[in-house]
Each structure stands twice: as structure tokens, then as C-alpha cells.
């Protein structure tokens, strides 16, 4: 079955808000094994909205519309769909009661005015033959309409109304219409470029049917999503496993996880916890980005002792014990400084592992022998230090992101 998403709202076309609804619904449809071929966004304009619905009905089995169900004149999704289907709008008593209760409850504590303005009753109108779906977080109900083997679903626009409604009512409904199970694993690779990674498995990509293999590039990483459809989860996993095994044969420990939700920093924290190691960080050009990314991992406080952001030379000397001669002779961006930083922070924190980063993130500060993008990453594990010289491309932000991934990946490989 194919799905099409139609997001309704001029605020999306003006760029006032990011369309996170499309992202959420796309993910859910993929999870349910529905094929999504089109996402369309139109403004609060009845003609263009009706056209979009007509086009969608001609090419997709399920159409999910979000937005335009509110009380204002601009909200016209229900009206446009009714017109396309040539059906009337009628008052729905259940929705009417719901609106009354909602206002009664909230006007007590002053969240909404106690008088229900007349435009609110517009939200109690439903298309003949549709099923209204309760909105637990607002006044506009959702709707399901089944017509000529097509399904049309209308959902409110605000994510905090739409998501709970989808989870509670729409997801089970869509699941009941699907017979196949879809399962996917995400093979995440680090330390190898996108085009190189893809070239290495071009033969697998070319002969893919079930499971399918789809590459995704991320700053400094490459991900491959392996998706299989089958009658049961077990059968799907049996289709996926040989592909994962083959990817391990080709990429070895460049693969850091096969779990969708697992990040590189989470893998590093997990390895540290397993070995009961502690970690300290010393950052210059990344200025807290490495540590900030580590603290996103729940449970990191058992591992991470402290982080020092030594932007100035004085701070490098004072906190990390970097020698003034080293800074003078080789400069702050040098393997010698990187080594003294990483040893210094490990000593200060009395930690078993440490990471240090020093480099030129740009846009200024580059020189012919140390151009912007020159970054030294240093990794300390129980007295041993490894240092890597990197040349990263891109903006200041990009250089810093790649530096963080490089540092995390060094530690990961060292801990394996």
C-alpha cells in the first residue's frame, strides 16, 4: 500500500516552522511497511489544497493530511476534502460535547476564555461517512474516511496534538490494514568516506530486492539501512542477518553499531562502562562540543570525570601542565601540544582514558603550514597515547563536528 502525506499550512511555506510532522509520519509509515512516495506541502488555499487531494487520490492508497482543522477561517482542510469527495459536512454531537468539556475544564483555571467563540463549533462538523478521532490535547478532532478502497486521514497540525492521536488511534488502524512485517537494521560505519563505502558494496546494492540496502551519509559517518519484509519478525531477521554478516566481513570494526538508535558516543560510553574506565577531556578548538555530546548519553556520569576547555595557552599550561617551551617551539596546534594536553588532563583527573583536541577550526587562524581544518586528536588509554593529524574541510562548525567524531572513533578503536 502506498501513502501520501499532505501538510497544510502557509506557515510551512513561509518557513516559519520546520515540518517535523512529515518526518514523524514518514518514519511511522516506514515502520508499518507502507511505501511513501510523495510528501506535499500546500498553503491555506482551498483551490490548491483540493488539487493536491485530487492528485493524491489518483496515485496513492492512503492519504494523510495534517493541519488546517482549527477554528479559524484559514482552516479549510475538512472543507476541501468534503468538496473533492462531494460530501456534506454535518454536526457531530460527540465532538460538540468534547469541545464543551474541554472549554469547561480549562476556563476554570484561566487557560482559555469561559465563552466558547462561535468559530469553535466549526471543529465539530464532520464529513458525512467519516469517523471522528478523539483529540486529547486540543479541540480539533481527527477523521478517518474510507472511500472506494482509498483511505483519507485528517490530523491536526500541532505536533503535540497530532502525535498522541496518531499513536493511539491511527497507528493501530493502519497496522490492521497491513499483513506483512517490516524490520530494519542500521549498519553505522565510521572512519571511511561515503563514496568509498558504497563502492565497496556496489554489488550488494545492485542485486538488492528483499532485504533492501539504502545508504545514508552523515557528517563523518556512513549508515546503511537494511530492511526486510516477511510474515514474521524472525523470518525478516533471517533475511537481514546474512547481509549484516557480509557487511562485517567487508568493513570489520569500521562498523560501530547495527542499532538504529545507538550513537557513536553511546558506544564509547558503553565500552568505557564495560571496562570500568573513566574519561576526561581537554578541548581547544572544539570548545566543549566533544564533552557536550558525551553528556547527552544517559549514565555518562559514571564515566566522565571532567572536561577542560583550554582555549588560551595560559589555560593549557595551568590546567593541563602543557610546557610553555612546547607551545613556543611547536605551537598550540601541534602533535607535541596534543600529547601534553591528553596526558595532562588524564593526570589531573586521574582517569584511565582521555581525549584531547587542538586545531584550527577557522575561518581565521590558518597559515600555510597549518591551514584551517588542521586538527590534532589525541587519545590516551592507560598511559599509551595515539595522536592523529587531520585535515578537515568545511565550515568552522563542520571542522569541529568531524574533530569530535574522529576523537570518539579513536577511543572506540582503542577500547576494542
Amino acid at each position: 500500500m502506498t501513502v501520501e502525506l499532505i501538510s497544510v499550512g502557509t506557515e510551512l511555506l513561509l518557513g516559519n516552522i520546520v515540518n517535523t510532522n512529515s518526518n514523524y509520519l514518514s518514519k511511522k509509515c516506514a515502520e508499518l511497511g507502507y511505501s511513501l512516495y510523495y510528501q506535499v506541502t500546500v498553503g491555506d488555499n482551498e483551490e490548491r489544497l483540493s488539487d493536491a487531494v485530487t492528485t493524491a487520490l489518483s496515485r496513492s492508497d492512503v492519504i494523510i493530511l495534517t493541519g488546517g482543522l482549527g477554528p479559524t477561517q484559514d482552516d479549510m482542510t475538512k472543507e476541501a476534502v468534503a468538496k473533492v469527495l462531494k460530501r456534506d459536512l454535518v454536526m457531530d454531537e460527540i465532538s460538540k460535547n468534547h469541545i464543551e468539556t474541554y472549554f469547561a475544564y480549562r476556563s476554570c483555571n484561566g487557560t482559555v476564555p469561559s465563552v466558547i467563540t462561535s468559530n469553535n463549533w466549526k471543529q465539530a462538523l464532520k464529513i458525512v461517512g467519516s469517523t471522528a478521532v478523539d483529540n486529547e490535547n486540543g479541540t480539533a478532532p481527527g477523521y478517518i474516511i474510507e472511500v472506494d478502497s482509498k483511505i483519507i486521514i485528517l490530523l491536526p497540525g500541532p505536533p503535540f496534538e497530532m502525535i498522541p492521536m496518531f499513536q493511539k488511534s491511527i497507528y493501530p488502524f493502519l497496522k490492521s490494514k497491513q499483513s506483512k512485517i517490516f524490520l530494519s537494521k542500521m549498519v553505522k560505519i565510521c572512519g571511511i568516506g561515503e563514496s568509498k563505502a558504497e563502492t565497496e558494496i556496489l554489488d550488494l546494492i545492485e542485486k538488492q530486492t528483499n532485504p533492501t540496502i539504502a545508504p545514508y551519509a552523515k557528517s563523518g559517518e556512513v549508515h546503511f539501512r537494511i530492511t526486510a519484509s516477511a510474515d514474521t519478525e524472525q523470518e525478516a531477521m533471517m533475511l537481514i542477518q546474512p547481509v549484516i554478516d557480509e557487511l562485517y566481513r567487508r568493513f570489520g570494526n569500521n562498523i560501530y553499531t547495527i542499532e538504529e538508535e545507538e550513537t557513536l558516543e553511546a558506544v564509547v560510553v558503553k565500552l568505557l562502562l564495560q571496562k570500568k574506565y573513566s574519561l576526561a577531556t581537554a578541548e581547544s578548538c572544539t570548545g566543549g562540543l566533544l564533552t557536550g555530546c558525551l553528556v547527552n548519553v544517559p549514565g555518562v556520569s559514571d564515566v566522565l570525570q571532567e572536561g577542560i576547555i583550554t582555549y588560551s595557552n595560559e589555560a593549557k599550561i595551568k590546567y593541563l601542565g602543557v610546557k610553555p617551551e612546547t607551545l613556543h617551539t611547536f605551537g598550540a596546534v601541534s602533535p607535541q601540544t596534543a600529547e601534553e594536553m591528553v596526558r595532562g588532563v588524564a593526570k589531573a583527573a586521574n582517569s584511565s582514558t582521555a581525549l584531547a583536541i587542538t586545531g584550527v577550526a577557522g575561518p581565521d587562524g590558518g597559515s600555510p603550514e597549518k591551514p584551517v581544518g588542521t586538527v590534532y586528536t589525541a587519545c590516551y588509554v592507560n598511559g599509551e597515547v595515539i595522536i592523529k593529524k587531520n585535515h578537515f574541510n568545511g565550515t568552522r562548525q563542520k571542522v569541529r563536528e568531524q574533530s569530535v567524531i574522529q576523537a570518539l572513533d579513536m577511543l572506540r578503536r582503542n577500547l576494542l
Copy 2:
């Protein structure tokens, strides 16, 4: 002139990434005074992509496509557009050289393999009659094609390649096609909620015509975009200025800038530079986020001495001189600890200003008297300390973001 956006990429249809490109480009088109009626997303499928291009050409003047310009088999935007326009693809020598230089530079330091895999040359092909646009952050160039009074623009998908390319080459090009001048200023406000801010200027919003006023909510901030159209930039500014003056009358120094690109952290760094003050930071629950956001400001190294991430109590004692009794009596999340942290880091760094943050970011660690979201922010300026107790809502990430903005805003107000 009307614009249509076509985002290309199966990863968007699967929900693996959020479509921030559409949001960015929509904003920019609004800024340029182009009318955007449709945003369409299709996957890496030549037939559906060609159909989308054909439809767009039939109803819009300018079509901007993002994604599908990379080296892999999945990348087929150029091929689909060429087919719709019935034009050939030819090798572009400039793009070919660019790819060679890009790889030569990177293979020296091992970032990419020294052999350029053959699929990369695909990126040097251009549609006959198109103009290639330099990509300073990747190998895939962009393209501009003008055909029968229509304009087609092809941009790479990764935002860090697309945005700089758009800013440098596409924005000026689109601007040159507009006869009216559109000028906008972004009034950025901090320390006041969205609905309150909007209520305060409801009268202005209701009577808007030229200039228009559009509100944008951002984590912890409210922005109003004032846009005027006129024949000259000067005339447009004359329309905008009275509105800005009125907003200053109503919001005073809650407004921290009226420049689109200027961030709160940039304003803080600018104020510090003006006063020749230095800054040090001590972070607990934000774990480097505050400092990481400050180091995004070019030139910050003249201001920022050092940052200490003291996740553990030991680190708070060792580096910041927080008294063990204080931690024992009042806890790590307390005004007393916040004050000792901020004074401690200012003393250690010998800096004229300092910021400290300690709080419960969640999801765990809350208690009845200190629930998740309780955060103390402390600001030190030349011996004077101000401390603020905050109760932030939302996820761990959200609490941390709001803490950072609160800390930066405290320092900003203190420096004014």
C-alpha cells in the same frame, strides 16, 4: 514570481532526516519576495522525480531542487531534469578540475582514498546550457538553468553544502531577477514568552500591510521579522524603521539585535570585546553546551579564557574551589554552589566576567524540592554576582538549551 521546492531523497520519505532545507529555502524565498505555493518531496526514483519536475514547470516560475546530485547510482536529479528538458549531459572541465583538487588535497592526509573512484566523475557532468555553481564544501556542484522564462536551480542535499552555496551564488541571482527590493530586519527578543510578546504587539500585527510583521518562536527566544517592499533599499528601510522604533519602545532592551544573522552569543562576545572584558565558564548540567555555543563566534578567542566542565562534585572542589561543606549542606544544585562556582572560575581564570550553570537536566535526578528543570544560572562581572533560579520545561536537551540562553542573557543585560 512563484517558486516551487522539490526535495529529492528517499531518506526524507523514510523519515531518516528532517527536511530543514525546505524550511531554510522557504524563509529565503519569503525574504526575497517570491511566492512559494508548493513544497514537494520525492524519493530517488527517476519516473516520479521527472513527473514532479514536469508538474512544477507547468505551474511555477522558479523550481529549486535539492538533493540527488552526489556520486552514487541513487543520485539522479540531474539526469531526470535533463530528460524532462530533453537535453544532454556533458563533461564540465571546471567541475572535473574541482573534484581532482578536492581529492588531491584530502588524499594527502588520508581523509579520502588517493584513487578517485569512477562514480565521482558523474558529478562533473552538467546539463547542456546550464551554469555550474561552485561547491566550496563538497564535490557536487549546483546548477542554474534558464529555459523559456522558467528558472531551474539544482542544489546539493547536505545543508552544510547547500546553505553556503545558496547564500553565495543563488540568493544574489534570485535577487537580481526581482524588480522590487525586499528588505527585512529580524527583531530578536529574549527573556519574554512568545504569546506575551505577540499579545503586546497584536495591534501592530493586525494592521500590517507594508511592512509585514511575522513572529517566529525559537527555544527561549521570540523573533519578529519586519519585511518591506519598495523600489530602493533606502525606501524600504524608511518603511521599516518606524516599526523597529515602536518595538524598541515596547520591548526595550529585551531586544538583543535586529540583525538576521546575529546570535545572542555573538552579541555577548561583541559586548565583551567592546569593554575589553574576558570570560570564563563553569558548567555542570550543560556539560560544555554554553562554551560550545560561544566558540561558534569567530574572534571569541580574544575573550574566552577557559571553560571548566565540572560534572562531578570532586571537580567542582578541585578546579573551582567550591567548599565541600557547601555541597554537603545545600547540594550541587543550589544558589550557594552556583555562586562558589562562578566566583571560583573567575578567580582561577583571572577573568573580569564569568558564567556558571548547575541544575537538574533530567530525565532522572529530580526531587520534590528540586524537580527536573531546576537550574541555577550565575553571572559574575567584576566581583559582582547575580544568581537566578529557573524552572525549565521539556526534555534534557530542551532544559539545557534554555539554561544556556538564560546564562548568556544574564551576562548581556549586565554588560549593557
